[in-house]
Amino acid sequence: MSSLTTKARNYLVFLWRCGRIAFVGDWRYYTWMGLLTIIILLGINAYAKQFVYGLITTGMSDQVSWGVYIANFTFMVGVAAAAAMLVIPVYIYNNKELHDLVIFGELLAVAAILMCLAFVTVDLGRPDRFWHLIPGVGKFNFPGSMLSWDVIVLNGYLLLNVHICGYLLYCRYNGRHPATWFYIPFVFVAIVWAVSIHTVTAFLYVGLGGRPFWNSSIVGPRFLASAFTAGPALIILALQVIRRYTDYRISDRALLTLRSIVQVSMLINVFLLANEIFKEFYTRTSHVASSQYLLFGLHGRHALVPWIWTAIAFNFISMGLLVLPLTKSLKFLNFACVLAIVGIWIEKGMGLVVPGFVPTPLGEIVEYSPSCNETLVCLGIWAFGLLCYTIFLRMAIPILQGRLSQAQGSETLREVYEPGAANAFAANPAPITDAVS
């Protein structure tokens, strides 16, 4: 019994230390976190207005009844799913380079899922009735509604990743080896689960027979291809930020492994896009209307045209760069990654959600553009996601480096907490080695 209390106390101390370290850093850390907090507060303010006056504060209408909230939600599900692209090489192909980086991918997945949940919640007309969605408590339409599947897979994925990251970090903190049976099975479940979250999210759209733009079997594969492009691209950038601002060592070779994943995914992504465009425009049935609206405009309405061509251009330039040896240099790789992320964000977000509603099933054309309030809510959620990820990294990195551990008494802990210590490791970042040829 007493050993159980000791264990519980150890765990609480662990949580307390993690929580405390999130509030400690150098001036750059405080500036960054302060900035994010301000944006989050602006977002909360915008959401409070929406809560009181209703979704009329957004740009949505009965004709276009989903907008940037659901668009961002769809994109972030992809980012979350992409953590699998780090896990698969490590646990299935025994890739050593990425081994220690898996946890950063999984933490990103946790932050991304939290953003997803936030984006869905702000889209609800009656957030006070969220409990109707809780299985067993409310009235859950499972397995009928794909949205109920999404509730299960997203929350399940969140729990899986929280468990894996939390357990591994806690073991490292305690200085013991993680018990294989207690996390490896979850790692493999999480790989399949990652595919499922994006497939189910695709099926949300695919399952609607009245919307020909979505009711196409290629939507699921396209979702996965774009997710496995944008997600690892985001991880490539995040890892470089980590290596720049902490003394955590991340090899160029690890980044280049990710590059080859982004490379292949981007090729598949563009190929699938070409497939869809051929089918729509060669046959030219009346179902082409939404694609026509998206790519060229319909009956003089073309709000999305500049966006989608930007996205297509970005995707093509990015693909071109990625297949060239040029992107073995990080400068070009980063450029290609940014293009891929922005391109896919436009394409998977506004480019997928909005044209599904234009024209309406009765042929009406009503355009959509997000309102200022709606945009602020989105920015708030993005800032919230970045804040979560920063906090997770702030906790995880000292643990992984062994600077935050159970063995250390409060005296040595101070070094971790002290701004001076934070400066010390920020001052000599890992040397950036040249690209491996």
């Binding site: 969220f130 409310g138 009245g210």
Partner: protein, 313 residues
């Protein structure tokens, strides 16, 4: 690591300076949070413990339903100063409602649209309408060619026909299938209804509907007091709340008492026919038996509407 030598209290103890600093940060943080939440002060009548805990329509006992109906009546009276009669009309045995609309006769006057708004207590601002009349060019049923906003001096215009579209009361309703919380379902008399007090406002049904039949309350609906229809039903025309879906329900508060829907009664052209398809003597049964051509809109989607369009041939 020169800083590490600075004298700082061990973990758990807090210096006066640190305490003041932390308090200041905390206080300004709370103030900023409170300021950002300021719009919530305008929140009136949003929910209550009673409303928050209200059960799903199908899970309420008759006594619980009675209490809810009384509460709704009180709320309506407080807001509109009209004492309403709120009932929960149940479907009748041996009845399956079907609508038939004669495209040869419809003149596109939109009287049905406005009768519906008046009967069903739809919001006037912003305007919500369940029926959409399309002006179609002669010879085509391609909905994309329809004009939603026609406004000539007088109707009908030569070279066009008119096609009113409302909820088609499908036998395989996609909206019911996708609702994550079973807030919308098909009743035994064939009417797809919504529990306005259970809907979470995700608008998935609105995306799923192939007929643009569903409407969302983007803000608090407003109805002039003198226009309120005081004869209300739970699943029908009682005033809705902000953030929930609504749509045509074949005027359950009328039709379940044996009356015709409001849109039918007002139609000056006699284009609208409504009745019980299980009764072989009904007008709709006669039409479905004897008219040579009738159309279910978007039949290829497999929704199997209970709303039929026909021609006088």
């Amino acid at each position: 690591m020169a800083d590490a030598n600075r004298s700082t209290p061990p973990e758990g103890e807090v210096s006066r300076r640190d305490f003041l600093k932390t308090s200041a940060v905390l206080a300004s943080g709370m103030a900023a949070l409170a300021a950002s939440l300021a719009p919530l002060r305008d929140l009136k009548d949003y929910t209550s413990v009673e409303k928050f805990l209200q059960k799903h329509y199908k899970e309420m006992t008759p006594e619980e339903m009675q209490k809810v109906l009384e509460r709704i009546a009180r709320e309506v009276e407080r807001q509109y100063h009209v004492r309403p009669r709120v009932r929960d009309y149940k479907p009748m045995d041996g009845v399956e409602f079907v609508y038939c609309l004669n495209l040869t006769r419809c003149i596109g006057c939109r009287k049905c649209v406005h009768a519906c708004v008046a009967e069903n207590n739809q919001s006037r601002n912003p305007e919500i309408q369940y029926i959409r009349v399309l002006k179609m060019p002669h010879g085509s049923l391609d909905l994309e060619k329809g004009d939603h906003n026609y406004a000539p001096e007088s109707v009908p215009e030569k070279g066009f026909f008119y096609m009113p579209v409302q909820c088609q009361q499908c036998k395989n309703p996609p909206c019911v299938k996708v609702c994550p919380v079973k807030a919308t379902w098909q009743e035994p008399d064939g009417v797809t209804v919504i529990d306005y007090d259970w809907c979470i406002g995700c608008r998935y049904c609105e995306a799923a509907c192939p007929y643009f039949a569903r409407r969302f309350n983007w803000t608090k609906p407003s109805i002039p007091k003198e226009r309120l229809n005081a004869d209300m039903s739970y699943l029908g025309n009682r005033p809705r709340r902000q953030g929930v879906m609504e749509k045509c329900h074949f005027c359950v508060q009328r039709t379940r008492q044996g009356k015709y829907p409001a849109c039918l009664e007002v139609c000056p052209a006699g284009a609208r026919k409504f009745g019980n398809v299980l009764d072989p003597e009904s007008e709709v049964s006669y039409i479905l038996r004897n008219k040579r051509v009738f159309i279910q809109l978007k039949e290829e989607l497999g929704t199997s509407p209970r709303f039929f369009y026909y021609f006088d041939v």
